[in-house]
Structure formats: structure tokens, C-alpha cells
Symmetry: C2
Subunit: 329 residues, 2 copies
């Protein structure tokens, strides 16, 4: 994929995940000039991983129609834990063995470009803020719904990184204290333990075991039930699946309301694979937010789906490089 390059300078964004590396080049207006995905092969360790990152970056530039010299900087989004100030990965659960890795400097050395590091959830939020569904907002909170729940907060153009690089870990706010579900992080009652795709599937399996109601989900091998299959069954009128999706919307609204009563942003965005469930999910989230939030934020805060899809991460990483390296407002 390539497009006519727009205004220079250009930035390379790389979105490092446990499974895939997504990379691309954007122009100074945030238009995507190239986008590709490689396997991370995280299990090969950080040396091979850094080679993959550099390779993903070089290929994205080659595909963009922009010369290497025109790339003004590189933004890398990565799962945590990390020390953003030091540009280090600390103990990332999704990248086992990549501990205490000065990844920003190591990637910069390989690519010979100024490089910035950002948390992946923050980068996605910044991407939407810069060129996606958050364009024009002063402040936004974004939840990325997948295996877990990523989050990012942008306030007046700045990412809320936090003092220990743990800002906007809002999948891990506590929404239930008693008889609470266990989160993938090991703690109890976190939003992610209720509303992630993984949690949805777990709740579906429980419901199928406990609830005698008929459901087309029973025709599936339990091992193969996905959040997508549940959303499709709900869309086709399956009552049990519909209840599961409605509960998911409620949990997401609970997260949105708690963030509205803390950050009070212009906009709350939901992104990630689960938003493929479509308008009915968004409508249900909105309905519960309106019911549960204070009247003024309930009436004024926009609740929307993200628009950049899987490009949000690298676009946001590139945008953050642009912000930090060029000091562009």
C-alpha cells in the first residue's frame, strides 16, 4: 500500500505486540503512506526481536515511497511494563524475556534515527486523537478491547504517562469488590476481568454451563467460542448471547463512567477487535452511560467507536514522535 506523500517531514511508527509488529509511515498530517505487519516471534528473545523491529521499520519506509533520509523520527509503541523516561522495557508480560531492555536506544542505534518510546495503549489513544475519531477533541479516554483492555488518556494534546509510566492502565481499575472475578494480572475485580474479549468468552462458557436457555452457541465446540461468535449470535437474535453482549456493554459503561468522573474528557472511545460487534454495542454502552453518569457529563461527553482500527497504534507512535521530536503543537 502506498499513497502520494503529503507534507514532510515523515515519521515511522512501529507498534510492537506479543504476536505481531505493525509498522507504517505517516506524513506530517498523519496520512498513512504504508502499513504492514510482521510476526514478532517474541520467543526468539530481544536480539532477534530488535532485528524484526528494524526490519519492519525499513520495509514500511520502502513501501511508503518516501526516502529513508526524509524520515524525521521513529515512534515505537510497546506493551508494558516500561520506564518511559529511560526508554526501557522492564518486565513486559507479553514479551517474556525482554526484561530490563533499553529498547528505545537499541532501536535508535539500529535505525540511526531519533526514536521515542510510548505505551501501546497510550499510542493508540494518541493516534485516534491526532487523526482518528478523536480529531478535534481536547481530551479523550480510549479503551482498546481485545484479549485484555488497553487504555490511553490524552489531555490537551499530551499523553497522561503517569509518574511511574503506569498512567491510563484503566483496564485495571476496580469495578467489583465482593465475589469479584480474577483478572489476567492476578488481581481481583478489574474492569478487564469483566469486559475484555477473554472475559466475554469466559462468561459465555459459564452461562452455557449454568443456564439451560437454548442458544446457537451450544452448536459450537466450546473450545472455539470467540467474542466474535458471541457478537454474531447476539446479532442473529440469540437471547443468551444478547444478554452476554448487553452485560459487556454495561461493564464498559461502568468503566466509562468512572473515567468520566475522574478525567471528565470530551470523548470516550472504544477500539479493538470487539467493536466489530457494531452499533448495537455502542448504543447499549451509551444508554448505560447516560443512565449512570452525572447529568452534565452524561449529556455532553461523546461516546464513540475508534476509527483507525489496527493502524491506531503505529499512527499514534509516529504522531508522538512528531510531537516530541519536532515540538509541534
Amino acid at each position: 500500500m502506498s499513497a502520494v506523500p503529503g507534507p514532510s517531514p515523515f515519521y515511522l511508527g512501529i507498534d510492537l505486540g506479543g504476536t505481531n509488529i505493525k509498522s507504517g509511515v505517516v506524513d506530517d498530517d498523519g496520512h498513512v503512506l504504508s502499513f504492514l505487519s510482521l510476526e514478532t516471534e517474541a520467543e526468539l528473545g530481544p536480539e532477534a526481536g530488535l532485528d524484526h523491529l528494524a526490519e519492519a521499520g525499513r520495509r514500511a519506509v520502502a513501501a511508503s515511497g518516501v526516502s529513508w533520509d526524509q524520515i524525521a523520527g521513529v515512534g515505537l509503541g510497546s506493551p508494558g511494563t516500561m520506564d518511559l523516561g529511560a526508554g526501557m522495557l522492564l518486565e513486559p508480560p507479553n514479551l517474556p524475556g525482554w526484561d530490563n531492555l533499553p529498547i528505545r536506544q537499541l532501536l535508535s542505534d539500529r535505525l540511526k534515527k531519533a526514536t521515542v518510546l510510548q505505551n501501546d495503549g497510550n499510542a493508540a489513544a494518541y493516534g485516534e486523537y491526532w487523526t482518528g475519531a478523536g480529531k478535534g477533541a481536547h481530551s479523550l479516554v480510549m479503551f482498546t478491547l481485545g484479549t485484555g483492555i488497553g487504555c490511553g488518556i490524552v489531555l490537551d494534546g499530551l499523553i497522561l504517562e503517569g509518574r511511574h509510566s503506569h498512567g491510563a492502565e484503566c483496564g485495571h481499575i476496580i469495578v467489583q469488590m465482593e465475589n469479584a472475578r480474577r483478572c489476567s494480572c492476578g488481581a481481583y475485580g478489574h474492569l478487564e476481568a469483566y469486559a475484555s474479549a477473554t472475559a466475554l468468552v469466559k462468561r459465555a462458557l459459564e452461562a452455557l454451563a449454568e443456564d439451560p436457555a437454548p442458544s446457537r452457541l451450544r452448536q459450537l465446540d466450546p473450545e472455539t467460542i470467540t467474542s466474535r461468535a458471541i457478537a454474531e449470535a447476539a446479532a442473529a437474535g440469540d437471547e443468551l448471547a444478547g444478554r452476554l453482549m448487553r452485560d459487556t456493554a454495561h461493564y464498559l459503561a461502568v468503566g466509562a463512567v468512572s473515567l468520566m468522573h475522574t478525567i471528565d474528557p470530551d470523548l470516550v472511545l472504544f477500539g479493538g477487535g470487539m467493536i466489530n460487534a457494531g452499533q448495537s454495542l455502542l448504543d447499549a454502552i451509551r444508554q448505560d452511560v447516560r443512565r449512570m453518569a452525572f447529568p452534565i457529563p452524561a449529556a455532553r461527553t461523546r461516546i464513540e467507536f475508534a476509527s483507525l482500527g489496527e493502524e491506531a497504534g503505529f499512527v499514534g507512535a509516529a504522531g508522538w514522535a512528531r510531537k516530541v521530536l519536532s515540538r509541534t503543537p
Copy 2:
């Protein structure tokens, strides 16, 4: 009360509450030169209330040893709801009848001084940040524990006001979804419904009715049980009261952890009357935060009691006037 005036300019701070108006003068370093309290008599309506505010301000200046001309500006802290940008009270539940009141301008007209308006919870947090337990912190979250739970967030020297003046309403984050307690605001499962002084008393009355355990609280007329009486009974070794205080600490830790996983501040402060319960309450909060938060913020985020007591509100309002009017960093 008066002290030798320190560096000029001087600022007048006024903390408007449903019951009392607290006012005082501070110097440019935040030292308190005067402090007094008047009754609000909110039920007399906003005209009388504005007269009381102006009177409280004039008396505080007279008591300070600083001449009226040396007052560079006025900061007013008030309970919401409000529109900070417009300087308006909207529909403040604690000031019935003071609706849609351009209070900033009206007070400025009466005092003939530049005036800024701030939310009371935000002002208290800013006071602690400027001259109290938060001095030197980059960012803090403060919970003020009283009849309700007020909150304020300071990030790199700026108050997180939110886009609709609803930032830091963290007493109203949702901590329980199922079988949740009803909050004073009418919604369910809010932190305030579990951890405020009012909620503590309610839980005590429930426990006394349901739990046959002996307790010195049974010697009190149920109508007269206060959070202070419960804290004192706990300190004296009363088991049931101790459990109630331990639960309170847990709920407060839940609030702290959710804010640490959202804002990730240097410091979480607890202020308000309930901190008179003392070190055992703080120790219990800390213990649960360490257990429930992610390892890095758990190890590095300081959890402390506020230090300015009932002066935090007017000191913070004055400090915010100084910040906004003088553009002092």
C-alpha cells in the same frame, strides 16, 4: 490569628461550604496570615450568601495585618455543580437555591478584586500541593473524607478541572456493580457510598443490627453514633468497630488503586475529618494498596494524610488565584 506578613503579593482565599465559610489571607509563599470561619446560612439564599462571603473576606484581610490594597486577588472554592470557565454555580446540592449563579463575577464586584472560582475538592488538593503534604510532588490525588468524599487531582502544577468542570469527582467512581450500595447522589456502587463518614456510620448501624458480637458501640444511642465514635471504639480495642474501620481502609485503598492505575501520581493524600482516626487507618490503607496495586506504583507511590486540615480549602483557593492571576509557575 495573625503572623508577620511574608513576601508580597498576598491573596485572599474563601472556602464556601454548605455550613461554614472559611476564609484567610496567605502570603506569596502560602503562609497563613489569618483564618476565620463564619456560618454560611445558605438557606437565606445567594444574595445574603454573597454578603457573607464578602464579609468573610474583609474580616480575614482585617485580621491578617495586610492592607486591603496589598491583596492581589481572591480565590473562591465552592461545592459543585459549576461551570468553571464561566465562573458559575449551576445546581449545587449543598447550596439549595444558589442555581445558575455567576458567583465569580458577583463576588468580584463586591470585593473589587480579581477573583477565580475553583471546585472545593480541587482547591483543597491544590492547597496541599502548594504548601501542605503534597509540597514537592509533581502530581497528586487527594480524597477529602467527610459527609461525602471530595477529590482533587493536580498534575504538574495544574488542577485537572475536566472539560465539563467534573474532573476529579472520584467519590463517584464505581467500585461495586452487584448488590451495590446507594450513594448520596442517587447512583449505585460509588466509592462514597462505602467509604465516607456517612457510609461508615450506616455500615455500623447495619452491623449492630445484624451482628450479635458485643461492642461498646451498643452503649451509645444509635442516633448519636459518629465516625469519630467508631474510630475511638476501634482504637480502644472494640472488635466490631475495628472491623468497620478495617473495611473503610479497604474501600479507600480500592479508590486509591483505581486512581493509581489511571493517574499514576507521585502521591495519594487522604484528608478531611475521618483522618483523625490516625495512623492505624493510614497503615491499613497502605497495606491494602501495596497488596492490590501493580508492583511499581505499589512500591513508589506515597500514601499519606493531608497536613493542612480545614485550612486546605482556602489556602488552595488563594494559591490557585495566585497561579492564575500572576501566572506564577
